[in-house]
């Protein structure tokens, strides 16, 4: 089987600081509105009456840092009308903006919001796994940026062997759609991808 690079995201240690997102934007000089890596907050539970007080009942919250999943079955590659997106031998899904006509069909198709539209240039852009850094032996910007060391990268099978097989968590979509190259470290309150009791709290 061909090598497939992927990310490990340790939900347990994520403090939701967004250093990964900012480092990505800084590394790639992304303009406003283009966020290759985003950190989602998933929260739930409720406050119930207990005597004269309200007490929390199953109140939970955790963050999920998400970039391109470099899926094994990348739907963006499938649907792109111009072949601007392709999957490399190492599994990295790359987008050549020079061939993009800006139809944004990939952003409709991608369940992870990975392809991001650059309004000014009129083309799509997306996480390229900092392939230029990897080529000279450095970590992707987001991985190197995490103050909590909650992000790792590498061959996805090796990551799974090291960190277990948790590949789907709420609020992420069913991984069978695209086979994302991702493995999660569980937060104590992590919910399954089928869980419907929580809310995505990000406002934009």
């Amino acid at each position: 089987m061909a090598k497939q690079l992927g990310f490990y995201v340790n939900l347990a240690n994520c403090i939701g600081c967004k250093a990964c997102e900012i480092a990505c934007k800084d590394r790639k000089g992304l303009p406003a509105g283009v966020r290759w890596r985003r950190v989602y907050e998933y929260s739930g539970g409720e406050w119930i009456a207990s005597g004269n007080q309200h007490v929390p009942s199953d109140v939970f919250s955790y963050y999920v840092s998400t970039a391109c999943m470099h899926c094994e079955k990348p739907i963006c590659v499938e649907v792109c009308p111009t072949s601007a997106i392709r999957k490399r031998d190492d599994g990295i899904v790359v987008l050549n903006s020079d061939n993009c006509i800006g139809c944004r069909y990939c952003s409709w198709a991608c369940p992870y919001g990975a392809p991001q539209f650059n309004e000014e240039a009129g083309v799509m852009t997306k996480c390229d796994f900092c392939v230029e850094l990897q080529e000279r032996g450095e970590k992707p910007a987001c991985v190197d940026a995490c103050p909590m060391r909650a992000l790792e990268y590498g061959d996805i099978e090796e990551l799974k062997a090291k960190h277990g097989g948790l590949t789907a968590v709420a609020p992420m979509p069913d991984p069978s759609l695209t086979n994302p190259a991702i493995v999660y470290g569980p937060h104590k309150d992590v919910k399954s991808a089928h869980y419907r009791g929580g809310q995505l709290k990000n406002i934009d």
Binding site: T82, G122, R196
Partner: protein, 298 residues
Amino acid sequence: MVTREWALLIFTILGQMASGALLTLMLIRAFAIRKTNVQQANRLTDGPLFIVVPIMALALLASLFHLGNLINITKAVPNLGTSWLSREVIVAVVFVVLAALYTFLQWRKLSTELIRATIGWIAALVGQFQTIAMIMVYMIRTQPAWNTFATPITFLVTSFLLGVLVVAAALVATRAIGDETQTDLLRSTLRGIAITSIALVGVEFVVLPIYVLYLSTQGASALQTMSSMFGTYTAVLVLRLLLVFVGGGVLGAYLYENAANGKERNLALLVYSAFILVLIAEAMGRFLFYATHYSIGL
């Protein structure tokens, strides 16, 4: 909905109208030839035929507004292997070229009737393939609100409904006055169009509740679609249904009733009103299609 989605709305509505119209015209021709002869058929449909290419051209023009980058369009290497969008683009271009060729040949009566008819039917089939491509563009596994039986049915209904009504309007507009054979042909054609229109509206009213029922059994993003359809956009939905009911249904029935012996001027008004109402209704329907979709996931 930003400008770019409006562009898509216009592209799909007009594109489907154009392919529906060409198919309708080919069918009417076949019917007219059987009933009378080629010359009568030509007299009936040669005028309305001129609407197909401009509508399709307008559709393609609109589609360009959806694109963020027109410079790169020259570099676009179509990904026909897996991308329905790619196929849609190719098919749309082939369709407009074939339709234009057919219109030109038919106008100048070049080549033989057989060859012209063959080209016409091929163009009409490509037009249908275009509708299929449009449908498949939205049948993506990560978009549960779109990836249902309702998308093909509603797209096809839109195509045929707008197709027959725009043809009806064109027939009425270009009708030969004082020619009894033509008038008879027109009147029976309008009756057929009226029945088709009523039936298609019927389909729309059957599909909607089933679609809603289906959505309610699906995941979170499907539920979001529902809540947006019956929340933010209730007014649009109700108005759209009302318009299509009045335009395609009530006016259709009235047209059917009066096609045989009504005053020509009244019939014309009836046909124009029905077309306008249904066009607005279908555009609203397509607006809802885009506005109420929610991706699965993020």
